[in-house]
Protein backbone atom coordinates (compact mmCIF):
# COMPACT_ATOMS: atom_id res chain seq x y z
CA UNK A 1 0.00 0.00 0.00
CA UNK A 2 1.15 3.51 -0.73
CA UNK A 3 1.67 6.01 2.10
CA UNK A 4 -1.39 8.16 2.95
CA UNK A 5 -2.91 9.17 -0.34
CA UNK A 6 -1.39 11.59 -2.80
CA UNK A 7 -4.65 13.46 -3.01
CA UNK A 8 -4.22 14.65 0.54
CA UNK A 9 -0.66 15.89 0.06
CA UNK A 10 -1.78 17.78 -3.06
CA UNK A 11 -4.48 19.46 -1.01
CA UNK A 12 -2.01 20.37 1.73
CA UNK A 13 0.28 21.82 -0.90
CA UNK A 14 -2.47 24.02 -2.28
CA UNK A 15 -3.46 25.12 1.23
CA UNK A 16 0.16 26.08 1.95
CA UNK A 17 0.28 28.37 -1.09
CA UNK A 18 -3.12 29.85 -0.21
CA UNK A 19 -1.98 30.63 3.33
CA UNK A 20 1.16 32.21 1.90
CA UNK A 21 -0.88 34.37 -0.50
CA UNK A 22 -3.13 35.59 2.32
CA UNK A 23 -0.09 36.30 4.49
CA UNK A 24 1.67 38.25 1.72
CA UNK A 25 -1.46 40.31 1.12
CA UNK A 26 -1.86 41.05 4.84
CA UNK A 27 1.83 41.95 5.04
CA UNK A 28 1.67 44.33 2.08
CA UNK A 29 -1.41 46.09 3.47
CA UNK A 30 0.14 46.44 6.92
CA UNK A 31 3.38 47.81 5.49
CA UNK A 32 1.46 50.33 3.37
CA UNK A 33 -0.41 51.54 6.45
CA UNK A 34 2.80 51.72 8.51
CA UNK A 35 5.47 52.74 5.99
CA UNK A 36 7.99 53.40 8.77
CA UNK A 37 8.13 49.63 9.40
CA UNK A 38 9.11 48.82 5.82
CA UNK A 39 12.84 49.24 6.24
CA UNK A 40 13.33 46.87 9.19
CA UNK A 41 10.91 44.31 7.73
CA UNK A 42 12.80 44.35 4.43
CA UNK A 43 16.24 44.10 5.95
CA UNK A 44 15.22 41.25 8.29
CA UNK A 45 13.42 39.29 5.59
CA UNK A 46 16.36 39.62 3.22
CA UNK A 47 18.84 38.46 5.86
CA UNK A 48 16.75 35.41 6.84
CA UNK A 49 16.11 34.56 3.19
CA UNK A 50 19.83 34.58 2.42
CA UNK A 51 20.61 32.38 5.40
CA UNK A 52 17.88 29.91 4.50
CA UNK A 53 18.41 29.61 0.78
CA UNK A 54 22.15 29.09 1.13
CA UNK A 55 21.61 25.94 3.19
CA UNK A 56 18.28 24.46 2.08
CA UNK A 57 19.40 22.80 -1.15
CA UNK A 58 22.22 21.08 0.78
CA UNK A 59 19.88 20.02 3.60
CA UNK A 60 17.36 18.56 1.15
CA UNK A 61 20.09 16.69 -0.73
CA UNK A 62 21.34 15.18 2.54
CA UNK A 63 17.82 14.08 3.42
CA UNK A 64 17.42 12.47 0.01
CA UNK A 65 20.75 10.65 0.30
CA UNK A 66 19.88 9.20 3.71
CA UNK A 67 16.42 8.15 2.57
CA UNK A 68 17.92 6.24 -0.33
CA UNK A 69 20.86 4.63 1.49
CA UNK A 70 19.22 3.63 4.78
CA UNK A 71 16.35 1.35 3.89
CA UNK A 72 13.42 0.34 6.04
CA UNK A 73 14.74 -3.20 5.84
CA UNK A 74 18.05 -2.22 7.44
CA UNK A 75 16.26 -0.49 10.30
CA UNK A 76 13.95 -3.46 10.85
CA UNK A 77 16.82 -5.91 10.88
CA UNK A 78 18.91 -4.05 13.45
CA UNK A 79 16.21 -2.73 15.73
CA UNK A 80 13.90 -5.70 15.94
CA UNK A 81 16.53 -8.01 17.37
CA UNK A 82 18.41 -5.89 19.87
CA UNK A 83 17.58 -4.96 23.44
CA UNK A 84 19.37 -3.47 26.47
CA UNK A 85 21.95 -0.73 26.01
CA UNK A 86 22.64 -1.85 22.46
CA UNK A 87 18.94 -1.62 21.67
CA UNK A 88 18.75 1.92 23.09
CA UNK A 89 21.82 3.03 21.14
CA UNK A 90 20.49 1.53 17.90
CA UNK A 91 17.04 3.06 18.45
CA UNK A 92 18.66 6.48 18.83
CA UNK A 93 20.98 5.96 15.88
CA UNK A 94 18.40 4.74 13.38
CA UNK A 95 15.83 7.23 14.59
CA UNK A 96 18.27 10.07 13.99
CA UNK A 97 19.07 9.03 10.42
CA UNK A 98 16.71 10.95 8.19
CA UNK A 99 14.84 8.23 6.39
CA UNK A 100 11.48 9.86 5.84
CA UNK A 101 8.47 11.64 7.30
CA UNK A 102 6.83 10.68 10.59
CA UNK A 103 3.93 8.86 8.93
CA UNK A 104 6.41 6.23 7.78
CA UNK A 105 7.84 5.94 11.30
CA UNK A 106 4.59 4.83 13.01
CA UNK A 107 3.87 1.72 10.93
CA UNK A 108 7.59 0.97 10.97
CA UNK A 109 7.58 1.20 14.77
CA UNK A 110 4.56 -1.11 14.98
CA UNK A 111 6.35 -3.59 12.75
CA UNK A 112 9.45 -3.35 14.95
CA UNK A 113 7.38 -4.21 17.99
CA UNK A 114 6.12 -7.33 16.27
CA UNK A 115 9.72 -8.25 15.55
CA UNK A 116 10.55 -8.05 19.23
CA UNK A 117 11.67 -4.48 19.93
CA UNK A 118 10.49 -3.28 23.36
CA UNK A 119 7.91 -0.49 23.67
CA UNK A 120 10.51 1.64 25.44
CA UNK A 121 12.92 1.34 22.54
CA UNK A 122 10.11 2.14 20.14
CA UNK A 123 9.38 5.33 22.08
CA UNK A 124 13.11 6.20 21.90
CA UNK A 125 13.15 5.44 18.18
CA UNK A 126 10.12 7.68 17.53
CA UNK A 127 11.49 10.52 19.66
CA UNK A 128 14.82 10.37 17.85
CA UNK A 129 12.99 10.21 14.52
CA UNK A 130 10.97 13.32 15.34
CA UNK A 131 13.57 15.39 17.21
CA UNK A 132 17.16 14.59 16.37
CA UNK A 133 17.47 14.29 12.62
CA UNK A 134 20.95 15.05 11.35
CA UNK A 135 20.04 17.67 8.69
CA UNK A 136 17.76 19.45 11.17
CA UNK A 137 20.61 19.60 13.66
CA UNK A 138 22.68 21.33 10.98
CA UNK A 139 19.99 23.96 10.51
CA UNK A 140 19.82 24.44 14.29
CA UNK A 141 23.61 24.85 14.27
CA UNK A 142 23.33 27.51 11.58
CA UNK A 143 20.70 29.61 13.32
CA UNK A 144 21.15 29.00 17.04
CA UNK A 145 24.85 28.26 17.34
CA UNK A 146 26.93 25.32 18.43
CA UNK A 147 26.35 25.59 22.21
CA UNK A 148 22.57 25.78 21.94
CA UNK A 149 22.49 22.89 19.46
CA UNK A 150 24.81 20.57 21.40
CA UNK A 151 23.24 21.16 24.82
CA UNK A 152 19.72 20.70 23.47
CA UNK A 153 20.82 17.57 21.59
CA UNK A 154 22.32 16.07 24.74
CA UNK A 155 19.26 16.86 26.84
CA UNK A 156 16.91 15.52 24.15
CA UNK A 157 18.78 12.22 24.02
CA UNK A 158 18.56 12.02 27.81
CA UNK A 159 14.84 12.81 27.67
CA UNK A 160 14.29 10.13 25.03
CA UNK A 161 16.04 7.47 27.12
CA UNK A 162 14.14 8.45 30.29
CA UNK A 163 10.87 8.31 28.36
CA UNK A 164 11.77 4.86 27.04
CA UNK A 165 12.41 3.59 30.56
CA UNK A 166 9.12 4.98 31.89
CA UNK A 167 7.11 3.60 28.96
CA UNK A 168 8.71 0.19 29.40
CA UNK A 169 7.43 0.19 33.00
CA UNK A 170 3.96 1.64 32.41
CA UNK A 171 2.62 0.57 29.03
CA UNK A 172 1.91 -3.11 28.58
CA UNK A 173 2.15 -4.79 25.22
CA UNK A 174 -1.46 -5.97 25.29
CA UNK A 175 -2.62 -2.40 24.85
CA UNK A 176 -1.32 -2.53 21.31
CA UNK A 177 -3.95 -2.72 18.61
CA UNK A 178 -3.67 -5.93 16.65
CA UNK A 179 -3.92 -4.14 13.38
CA UNK A 180 -4.02 -6.21 10.23
CA UNK A 181 -3.63 -3.25 7.91
CA UNK A 182 -0.17 -2.76 9.34
CA UNK A 183 1.17 -5.67 7.32
CA UNK A 184 -0.13 -4.09 4.16
CA UNK A 185 1.61 -0.83 4.91
CA UNK A 186 4.98 -2.41 5.53
Amino acid sequence: MKPPSNQKSKLTKRTDWLILAIAVLTGVVLLLIFPEKQEIAGITARRIATEMFTIFPAVLILMGLFAVWVSKETVMQFLGENSGLKGIALALFFGALPTGPLYIAFPLAAGLHQKGASLGNIAIFLTAWACIKLPQELVELQFLGVRFMLVRLGLTILAAVIMGMIIDKIVQADHFPDNKSRENIL
Binding site: L30, I55, P107, L144, F148, V151, L155, T156, M163
Partner: protein, 160 residues
Protein backbone atom coordinates in the same frame (compact mmCIF):
# COMPACT_ATOMS: atom_id res chain seq x y z
CA UNK B 1 28.41 33.13 4.12
CA UNK B 2 29.41 31.93 7.55
CA UNK B 3 31.31 28.79 8.49
CA UNK B 4 28.20 26.72 9.16
CA UNK B 5 26.83 27.44 5.69
CA UNK B 6 30.11 26.34 4.13
CA UNK B 7 30.22 23.24 6.32
CA UNK B 8 26.67 22.13 5.48
CA UNK B 9 27.25 22.59 1.76
CA UNK B 10 30.59 20.76 1.82
CA UNK B 11 28.91 17.95 3.75
CA UNK B 12 26.21 17.64 1.08
CA UNK B 13 28.73 17.74 -1.78
CA UNK B 14 30.92 15.11 -0.11
CA UNK B 15 27.85 12.92 0.46
CA UNK B 16 26.85 13.29 -3.17
CA UNK B 17 30.31 12.38 -4.45
CA UNK B 18 30.56 9.29 -2.23
CA UNK B 19 27.04 8.24 -3.18
CA UNK B 20 27.80 8.76 -6.88
CA UNK B 21 30.94 6.63 -6.66
CA UNK B 22 28.97 3.83 -5.00
CA UNK B 23 25.77 3.83 -7.04
CA UNK B 24 24.67 6.26 -9.72
CA UNK B 25 21.07 5.08 -9.77
CA UNK B 26 20.57 5.57 -6.03
CA UNK B 27 22.16 9.01 -6.26
CA UNK B 28 19.75 10.01 -9.03
CA UNK B 29 16.90 8.82 -6.85
CA UNK B 30 18.15 10.87 -3.90
CA UNK B 31 18.48 13.99 -6.04
CA UNK B 32 14.99 13.47 -7.41
CA UNK B 33 13.64 13.26 -3.86
CA UNK B 34 15.44 16.46 -2.93
CA UNK B 35 14.09 18.19 -6.02
CA UNK B 36 10.56 17.04 -5.23
CA UNK B 37 10.64 18.20 -1.62
CA UNK B 38 11.85 21.69 -2.55
CA UNK B 39 8.51 23.01 -3.91
CA UNK B 40 6.75 21.26 -1.01
CA UNK B 41 8.69 23.16 1.62
CA UNK B 42 9.02 26.41 -0.38
CA UNK B 43 5.68 28.02 0.65
CA UNK B 44 6.47 27.35 4.31
CA UNK B 45 9.95 28.82 3.95
CA UNK B 46 8.59 31.95 2.27
CA UNK B 47 5.87 32.24 4.91
CA UNK B 48 8.36 32.08 7.76
CA UNK B 49 10.61 34.70 6.08
CA UNK B 50 7.62 37.02 5.79
CA UNK B 51 6.48 36.27 9.33
CA UNK B 52 9.92 36.98 10.80
CA UNK B 53 10.18 40.21 8.81
CA UNK B 54 6.80 41.37 10.12
CA UNK B 55 7.41 40.24 13.71
CA UNK B 56 10.76 41.97 13.88
CA UNK B 57 9.41 45.26 12.56
CA UNK B 58 6.07 45.38 14.39
CA UNK B 59 6.77 43.76 17.75
CA UNK B 60 9.04 45.71 20.03
CA UNK B 61 11.63 43.98 22.18
CA UNK B 62 9.55 44.94 25.21
CA UNK B 63 6.50 43.05 23.95
CA UNK B 64 8.50 39.94 23.13
CA UNK B 65 10.43 39.90 26.39
CA UNK B 66 7.22 40.46 28.36
CA UNK B 67 5.57 37.51 26.65
CA UNK B 68 8.53 35.16 26.26
CA UNK B 69 11.36 36.70 28.27
CA UNK B 70 12.77 35.71 31.64
CA UNK B 71 10.21 37.80 33.55
CA UNK B 72 7.33 35.91 31.88
CA UNK B 73 8.33 32.98 34.11
CA UNK B 74 6.34 29.78 34.01
CA UNK B 75 3.60 31.44 31.94
CA UNK B 76 5.97 32.09 29.04
CA UNK B 77 7.24 28.54 29.13
CA UNK B 78 3.77 26.98 29.26
CA UNK B 79 2.68 29.26 26.42
CA UNK B 80 5.56 28.20 24.17
CA UNK B 81 5.17 24.56 25.18
CA UNK B 82 1.51 24.59 24.13
CA UNK B 83 2.23 26.51 20.93
CA UNK B 84 4.93 24.02 20.00
CA UNK B 85 2.65 21.08 20.74
CA UNK B 86 -0.24 22.21 18.55
CA UNK B 87 1.72 23.83 15.71
CA UNK B 88 2.66 21.74 12.74
CA UNK B 89 5.60 23.38 11.02
CA UNK B 90 8.81 21.63 9.99
CA UNK B 91 11.56 22.23 12.54
CA UNK B 92 13.93 23.46 9.84
CA UNK B 93 11.77 26.54 9.32
CA UNK B 94 11.19 26.93 13.07
CA UNK B 95 14.89 27.45 13.85
CA UNK B 96 15.21 30.85 12.12
CA UNK B 97 12.01 32.00 13.87
CA UNK B 98 13.40 30.84 17.20
CA UNK B 99 16.69 32.64 16.56
CA UNK B 100 14.91 35.92 15.74
CA UNK B 101 12.77 35.71 18.89
CA UNK B 102 15.90 35.07 20.97
CA UNK B 103 17.55 38.14 19.45
CA UNK B 104 14.51 40.18 20.45
CA UNK B 105 14.60 39.19 24.10
CA UNK B 106 12.79 35.85 24.41
CA UNK B 107 14.39 33.57 27.01
CA UNK B 108 16.44 30.49 26.14
CA UNK B 109 14.03 28.46 28.31
CA UNK B 110 10.95 29.52 26.36
CA UNK B 111 12.58 29.04 22.97
CA UNK B 112 14.17 25.67 23.76
CA UNK B 113 10.83 24.46 25.15
CA UNK B 114 9.07 25.60 21.97
CA UNK B 115 11.45 23.77 19.63
CA UNK B 116 11.36 20.63 21.75
CA UNK B 117 7.56 20.33 22.02
CA UNK B 118 7.26 21.28 18.36
CA UNK B 119 9.33 18.30 17.31
CA UNK B 120 8.47 15.76 20.03
CA UNK B 121 4.71 16.15 20.10
CA UNK B 122 2.50 15.67 17.10
CA UNK B 123 -1.15 16.57 17.49
CA UNK B 124 -1.67 16.32 13.73
CA UNK B 125 -0.08 12.88 13.55
CA UNK B 126 -1.78 11.65 16.74
CA UNK B 127 -4.62 9.73 14.99
CA UNK B 128 -2.06 7.76 12.97
CA UNK B 129 0.03 7.11 16.07
CA UNK B 130 -3.04 5.78 17.91
CA UNK B 131 -3.99 3.59 14.97
CA UNK B 132 -0.55 2.05 14.67
CA UNK B 133 0.62 1.92 18.27
CA UNK B 134 -2.45 2.09 20.45
CA UNK B 135 -4.14 4.74 22.57
CA UNK B 136 -2.21 4.04 25.71
CA UNK B 137 1.21 4.21 24.07
CA UNK B 138 0.35 7.39 22.13
CA UNK B 139 -1.07 9.05 25.23
CA UNK B 140 1.95 8.27 27.38
CA UNK B 141 4.50 9.13 24.70
CA UNK B 142 2.98 12.54 23.97
CA UNK B 143 2.19 13.28 27.62
CA UNK B 144 5.69 12.41 28.80
CA UNK B 145 7.09 14.38 25.87
CA UNK B 146 5.26 17.49 27.07
CA UNK B 147 6.71 17.23 30.58
CA UNK B 148 10.20 16.25 29.42
CA UNK B 149 10.27 19.03 26.82
CA UNK B 150 9.57 21.60 29.53
CA UNK B 151 12.34 20.06 31.65
CA UNK B 152 14.71 20.24 28.67
CA UNK B 153 13.77 23.91 28.25
CA UNK B 154 14.29 24.70 31.94
CA UNK B 155 17.67 22.96 32.00
CA UNK B 156 18.71 24.79 28.83
CA UNK B 157 17.98 28.04 30.60
CA UNK B 158 20.16 26.99 33.52
CA UNK B 159 23.06 25.74 31.39
CA UNK B 160 23.17 28.54 28.79
Amino acid sequence: MNNTTVFINLFAVAGLIISLLLDKQKTDQALKMALKSFPKILPQVLLIILLIGMLMSFLTSTVISNLLGKQSGIFGILLTALLGAVMHIPSIVAFPLAASLLEKGASVMAIATFITTLTMIGIVTLPLEIKELGKKFAFWRNGLSFILAILVGLLMGVVL
